[in-house]
């Protein structure tokens, strides 16, 4: 199937927002999604964006039954390793179920890797839930390393009241 991969623009935020919700439903945590299309527009397309996006699009003749031609996305930002330097973090990678198995997910991830290398990055990092076997298998087949399993890194988070309390002078 024909598809194209391109940088996201502000007009794509409606579809990105739709697909974020679809991905959250797949990850069984859709009630956690608080941000809106407007937040994405402000945070991704202002002077100092918090993230960048790429979109996978199919031609009109392959659109979904709901009429969507934007059928996958990857959202990433630049990060930093105090050991390795510049890094890229892939926050989301998603392809609508009916378009899977055609290499679109792989193409999106490769594009993020390519953009990262072009920006001088040495690492591409992301997170995966331990029960998500199909994603883990996919990523392993591409040559990545699970640094939680191998090196024992745990992700920790401060939010809500705990974060408010911490931020007090």
């Amino acid at each position: 199937m024909d598809y194209s991969i391109r940088a996201a623009n502000v007009e794509d935020c409606k579809d990105i927002s739709r697909m974020i919700m679809e991905l959250a439903e797949y990850e069984k945590i859709s009630e956690h999604v608080k941000i809106t299309q407007r937040d994405l527009e402000q945070d991704g397309f202002s002077k100092n964006p918090f993230f960048h996006g790429i979109i996978a699009e199919v031609p009109e003749q392959h659109k979904t039954k709901d009429g969507h031609t934007k059928i996958g996305y990857a959202l990433y930002f630049f990060s930093y390793s105090s050991w390795s330097g510049r890094a890229v973090f892939m926050e989301d990678l998603y392809v609508m179920p009916e378009f899977r198995g055609k290499g679109i997910g792989k193409a999106l991830m490769s594009k993020v890797a390519q953009l990262g290398l072009a920006a001088g990055c040495h690492l591409l990092d992301f997170t995966v839930l331990d029960w998500n076997k199909s994603s883990l298998d996919f990523y392993h087949s591409q040559g990545c390393v699970d640094i939680t399993a191998n090196m024992g890194y745990h992700i920790m988070r401060c939010e809500g009241e705990a974060l408010q309390h911490l931020a007090q002078p």
């Binding site: 991969i5 974020i20 956690h32 999604v33 608080k34 941000i35 945070d43 100092n48 918090f50 959202l75 930002f77 630049f78 990060s79 930093y80 390793s81 105090s82 050991w83 390795s84 330097g85 510049r86 973090f89 926050e91 989301d92 792989k106 490769s110 594009k111 890797a113 390519q114 290398l117 040495h122 591409l124 990092d125 997170t127 995966v128 839930l129 331990d130 029960w131 990523y139 591409q142 040559g143 990545c144 390393v145 699970d146 939680t148 399993a149 024992g152 890194y153 745990h154 992700i155 920790m156 988070r157 401060c158 939010e159 705990a162 974060l163 309390h165 911490l166 931020a167 007090q168 002078p169």
Partner: protein, 173 residues
């Protein structure tokens, strides 16, 4: 003990680089440190910096046995959660051993949280090694949740040849 927490300047990069190595030694992985103070100068103080950094400084009369007055740092950058929005990620938090127990680590952590709050960040994320009980306890005492234990999140990484291979397979524009 008196101390001051302030934004790092380009001139602090030599000290930050020294402390990055000290932290890597503590984490039992000193051979993993590949970047130099020049990389920090370039990447932290350019037009679109890859990170921001705070340093903790003590007065001359409290300098370390080797004569250092910059005795701790917190290195962080901004992330994005597609569920909740703006996030601050604390990449490193370190205080030289002889200066611990004086509230400097807590001071650095709070300042990072404050900076994040000003930028409307709703989360502060970090990672910690599973055997590093003092650090895990420190963060847990501040209200941090371990998402690996509680929700099963794993960090996955591509680097070196595997990253190159992946990038080479990207479709043409």
């Amino acid at each position: 003990m008196k101390f001051k927490i302030r934004p790092a300047t380009k001139e602090d990069c030599k000290e930050i680089s020294r402390m990055i190595m000290e932290l890597a030694v503590y984490e039992k992985m000193p051979d993993q440190v590949k970047i130099t103070h020049e990389d920090l100068e370039r990447d932290g103080f350019c037009q679109n910096p890859f990170f921001e950094c705070l340093v903790a400084e003590v007065p001359e009369e409290h300098k370390s046995t080797e004569g250092f007055t910059v005795v701790g740092y917190g290195l962080y950058f901004y992330n994005y959660s597609t569920w909740e929005g703006r996030t601050v990620y604390l990449e490193d938090l370190y205080v030289m051993p002889e200066f611990r127990g004086n509230g400097i680590g807590k001071g650095l952590l709070s300042k990072v949280a404050q900076v994040g709050k000003k930028k409307r960040c709703v989360r502060l994320n970090l990672s910690v090694l599973d055997w590093n009980t003092p650090s895990r306890d420190f963060y847990a005492a501040k209200g941090a949740r371990d998402l690996t234990d509680s929700e099963g999140w794993h960090f996955i990484r591509f680097d070196g040849q595997n990253l190159d291979n992946l990038a080479n397979e990207a479709p043409e524009d």
